[in-house]
Symmetry: C2
Subunit: 345 residues, 2 copies
């Protein structure tokens, strides 16, 4: 892609929770857009999307829709990416893919701009956006891994409904209204729409995100293992994850236990986090200051607090890591990759 | 206390979330009650409590209120226990105390009947009921610790509003209604009523339960360290806890990472859990079966699922442990101690 003053940008999945945030983020970041081309499935064609004050009709996501496109930002599910991303690349677009379709392919860079921006230039047309729960964790861990070397991570997540899309948000709100009214909640979407069993998320906690693998972990948990190692470029890091859905709309929280290869100075940890890009340290227990999902909603940063030493292991500490899963966990990370490419061109 | 056909039972804190459940549990378990004496603060005196079809007026919790009492079950806060438990003991009652007042005193047994019932007979008048988050975890761990020896625990909790009492339940429900109606939520109780800052729990996650200590852990987290070691009678166990409030009414969930002293057989772990008292194993990922807070509400058992090996450490596994925090975590554990004393007398 040559250097231009502005770019043609396609957003695939323009009606989804992430697609809408991508369009809003392109606008709020004043990304140099020449043409915005919102794409979605057949049934959304003709719906209007507002961008920079203009109404733009949605076109059908199809191979021929990428003509003249510079950046194609995909978030319409893995099968749509598998089907259409190659066509977009063939027509000269750089694909920034928010799905699981290509993340673990060796020749596809998996990028968090604060962590491994040097990987962007290695792309062959497709750059993968990591999973939301991984992105916020690696932003917090990168400055510490560089200095102390992470040996092991044990993470338990508190993930928002929006991670499962707009229909899961709607379901949570409907269920909550039903339960407050003394009714049985309707269950059709969570934890995994395509599986037979559905459970209420309202006033509940569901320890399943995505399908189960043979080893007893869910696909979401295995993603945290594999993507963390790929992004931090260190296959020796041991990751143990438990991924849990909680009745929150926006904002994933994570309880992260970090074991380093060697002892560390807690003050140095704090300084490294405070100086790192994309991180806001919110950590003053005596003032009851720590990251909260509701405070992170609508923000692009990763918030880190509850920074404390393990009481027994001199090489280990705890962190509480919170971020807006739809922004840094998806839309903002994708736009941020595009910004990086435009700025460094 | 001599063997009797029925006993006089005082419930201190009879109007609270736990006190009410104690009275209901005494009734549902058909505990041999001769006289039930509900006690509470001055402002509740004269309110009526229903027990076995009779209406019983609440009396004031005062030193002279324990005359003739065999069992005094306290759950009106630590300061009430400190003030009144000695008077109850002096008048011949056995105190089963649900507060933090006496738990760590060396001569006070801290009892979970499935785990250390032999400690009950060592009491000198006071038996302490552990903290809710500890109780359910040690029930799940005891059968495994006996066989494999636990070296380290890393636990992240998902704790229900009811753990902070009836006012916290009311606040969560009110906040939820307010937020669904587009209003700002009122915040007066959570995370800790007596501290200056309050945050909404509705559609949020709060990583603070109880006050902070100097080491950066909360008192709730430190309780999980100290109480687990005392109940399992093993000061070598390393415990790392992160205690978090989630928008759930009843039922604490816990993500527990367990590291043993040696390798283990996963099938043996499952069998040990299935055969252990007070545990229900709910663990069939392919059928989407795992413990859920909403399913545990109203039940006395501890539910264990998501049993799986760490992918890297042959000595470690994950568990997901769920129980009704107001029943097994408080009211039922207290009544269960009294039942045990009555049966083994």
């Amino acid at each position: 892609m040559e250097k231009k003053s502005s770019y043609n940008v396609a957003v695939v999945g323009a009606t989804g929770a992430v697609g809408q945030k991508i369009i809003q983020t392109l606008e709020s970041r004043q990304f140099p857009v020449h043409e915005l081309r919102p794409l979605a499935s057949h049934r959304s064609v003709g719906q209007l999307v507002t961008f920079n004050g203009k109404q733009i009709p949605i076109q059908e996501a199809a191979p021929e829709a990428f003509s003249g496109i510079d950046f194609a930002l995909f978030s319409a599910g893995g099968s749509v990416s598998e089907q259409l991303a190659p066509a977009a690349v063939e027509q000269g677009a750089v694909v920034i893919d928010n799905t699981n379709a290509f993340r673990m392919l060796p020749d596809v860079p998996l990028v968090v701009p604060e962590v491994n921006p040097h990987k962007i230039s290695t792309h062959r047309g497709i750059i993968a956006n990591p999973n939301c729960s991984t992105i916020q964790m690696v932003v917090a861990l990168k400055p510490l891994h560089d200095v102390f070397g992470i040996e092991r991570l044990i993470v338990s997540t508190y993930q928002a409904a929006s991670g499962a899309g707009q229909s899961a948000i709607d379901e949570l709100l409907t269920q909550t209204r039903q339960m407050l009214g003394g009714e049985q909640p309707d269950t059709n979407i969570l934890p995994v729409k395509s599986l037979p069993k559905h459970y209420p998320l309202a006033f509940n906690v569901i320890p399943q995100i995505d399908v189960f693998e043979e080893n007893g972990f869910t696909k979401e948990e295995v993603k945290m293992v594999n993507e963390t190692r790929k992004i931090l470029e260190d296959e020796s890091i041991q990751v143990n994850a438990t991924c849990v859905r909680v009745p929150v709309v926006y904002g994933h929280s994570e309880s992260v236990y970090v074991e380093f290869n060697r002892p560390f100075d807690l003050q140095e940890v704090r300084q490294l986090l405070e100086q790192a890009p994309g991180i806001v340290v919110v950590d003053d227990p005596q003032q009851q200051l720590y990251p909260l999902a509701q405070d992170a909603a609508g923000r692009n940063e990763v918030f880190v607090g509850r920074i404390r030493r393990d009481l027994f292991n001199p090489n280990a500490l705890n962190l509480w890591v919170v971020s807006d899963n739809v922004l840094k966990g998806a839309a903002w990370n994708a736009v941020q990759i595009a910004e990086y490419m435009v700025k460094t061109r």
